[in-house]
């Protein structure tokens, strides 16, 4: 049994999903249904483990939790904050139950710059990261028993020098992204801000002015509170248009 977010299950269907609570019997029909994520078999019943939304996919019954902690998964890009450093590693808070570990060998050769026509490697060395820095990292190794291993080598990864960090419950991240990225594209287009959404419930934003950033933050919190409702994208669109008129943002 795995307890993770289900981002592949699409939440954007028009009908409101049933809200279930821990221990609630989802089905007593074990021949036609199999317990999926967020559920377990208890005797001859399938019960829910979370406060969440009941989603039936083929013959699997799943429960998508509405709140909960992020479980590190290999390949995920996450936003971390350095909480401790020593000569051999940095410890990063990645909003999971354990901190992640970033080794200096996983941070080198991040970018290439051209000087006088010749490529020159720019290294991110130990001095460049200090406690409190915001880093976008990728999880290279994660299992149940060990601290996740991180890297800053890759596209979009590395330290953020400005912008703002927002936290929301990780299970609500799929709604910020939307089906095939529809919601996040809407947000980007309408507020003209840079947004980087990661699976651990953190969102990094940067816009060209404060009012737009404020509007974006308010919108994200609106999505957060209404994450379990249907027809969200349309409502958010109306919300942004109206708020723009009210706040006088072009």
């Amino acid at each position: 049994m795995e307890v993770e977010d289900i981002d592949e299950i699409d939440l954007n269907q028009m009908k409101d999903k049933e809200i279930v609570i821990p221990g609630e019997v989802l089905s007593e029909d074990l021949t036609n249904f199999t317990p999926g994520r967020g559920t377990t078999k208890q005797g001859n019943k399938i019960i829910s483990l979370f406060v969440g939304l009941k989603v039936i996919r083929k013959n699997y019954i799943n429960v998508i939790p509405l709140r909960g902690i992020y479980t590190p998964t290999e390949g995920d890009k996450v936003i971390g904050v350095i909480i401790d450093k020593n000569p051999v590693k940095w410890k990063l808070d990645i909003n999971a139950r354990n901190f992640g570990i970033l080794k200096p060998s996983n941070t080198v050769a991040r970018t290439q710059k051209f000087r006088k026509g010749r490529p020159e490697r720019v290294y991110e060395t130990t001095e460049k990261f200090s406690v409190g820095d915001v880093l976008i990292v990728k999880i290279t190794q994660a299992d149940r028993l060990h601290h996740p291993e991180l890297t800053t080598q890759g596209k979009y990864l590395g330290k953020r020098h400005s912008g703002k960090l927002i936290e929301i419950p990780p299970p609500k991240i799929p709604r910020i992204i939307g089906r095939k990225g529809s919601m996040i594209n809407l947000l980007k287009e309408m507020t003209n801000c840079n947004i980087f959404v990661t699976q651990n419930g953190r969102i990094w934003i940067q816009g060209d002015n404060f009012e737009k950033e404020m509007l974006l933050i308010d919108t994200i919190h609106k999505i957060e509170t209404e994450a379990h409702t249907s027809g969200l994208t349309d409502r958010i669109k109306d919300f942004i248009i109206n708020e723009k008129t009210i706040r006088g943002i072009n």
């Binding site: 904050v81 909480i83 808070d93 909003n95 200090s130 406690v131 409190g132 820095d133 915001v134 953020r160 020098h161 400005s162 912008g163 703002k164 960090l165 936290e167 404060f210 404020m214």
Partner: protein, 279 residues
């Protein structure tokens, strides 16, 4: 969440950048206070109690009394103490155990204006000089931490005091220290004279603003708290944190604090929470 223990480097930059343009991350003006919500008399067993919500900060204060001997240097005066507990429930970074430095400073900052303004008429709390006085406990518990505990704690302590129902006593035998409840309660309008209001300013770099919220409180360099009594006299002042304030700043902020405090005193009208039913 778990981030609370450390300072996020971008957060300070972001807040400061906008503060320099007179903008705050929650959309307030520099000298705009958050909304205050007061609920008095929420605990049956306590003599007085109050829940104060300042934005998302939530503080619950209870008032209890006991009878006991006075301090030797004030034989004919009652005693009162303020205790504050930053319980781990209220924020991820608070730890259990006995009150730490932060909790003790908070308790003393709530205590000081009440003591300096002579809010509690403690000569009324004396039963038998040298032998028996009232001991008033004002215990402040934090439920949710979202900045500016000094002001919210002070308001909740005052509200709890105003709403309290402390029984009065008649003396049966002064020698044997015997007293009995006479069936009545103190009228808090007589017991309390003056309700000092505290106003806290935060400072980041060279920008000063009132009523810091949690993020601002975490990244700010320092704070300064003023308290003024009903007559407009300064009764308490404390600079906290590493920030330094210029002489002009200290003087002009005092006037600003007085202005904000007067307005808040009028808006809150704490006397409305008096427990009139039982005098």
């Amino acid at each position: 969440m778990s981030l609370s223990k450390i300072l996020v480097s971008t957060e300070r930059k972001y807040i400061l950048k906008n503060l320099k343009q007179d903008k705050r991350i929650d959309g307030r003006d520099l000298f705009q206070y958050r909304d205050i919500n007061i609920d008095a008399n929420i605990v049956k067993a306590a003599e007085g109690s109050a829940k104060v919500q300042l934005g998302k900060t939530c503080v619950i204060t209870g008032v209890k009394y006991e009878l006991g001997p006075p301090f030797p240097d004030m034989p004919d005066k009652g005693v009162f103490t303020v205790m504050a507990e930053l319980v781990p429930m209220s924020w991820g970074a608070f730890e259990g155990g006995p009150p730490g430095k932060q909790a003790i400073e908070l308790a003393r900052l709530i205590d000081r204006p009440i003591r300096s303004a002579k809010t509690i008429q403690n000569e009324m709390l004396c039963l038998i000089p040298n032998k028996l006085v009232y001991i008033i406990f004002i215990d402040v518990y934090l439920i949710n931490y979202s900045g500016n505990l000094i002001d919210s704690g002070a308001i909740s302590a005052l509200t709890a005091l105003v709403s309290s129902k402390i029984p009065t006593a008649k003396i049966l035998d002064e020698e044997k220290v015997k007293v009995e409840w006479d069936g009545g309660y103190f009228n808090t309008k007589k017991l309390l004279k003056n309700l000092p209001i505290s106003i806290t300013f935060g400072k980041i770099d060279d920008v000063v603003f009132v009523d810091p919220n949690l993020t601002e409180e975490l990244v700010m360099d320092g704070r300064i708290t003023y308290a003024f009594d009903d007559d407009g006299n300064l009764v308490s002042l404390q600079k906290g944190g590493l920030a330094t304030f210029s002489i002009d700043e200290v003087k002009s902020l005092a006037r600003k604090a007085k202005e904000l405090g007067d307005k808040m005193r009028k808006d809150l009208n704490l006397w409305q929470y008096q427990n009139l039913k039982n005098k």
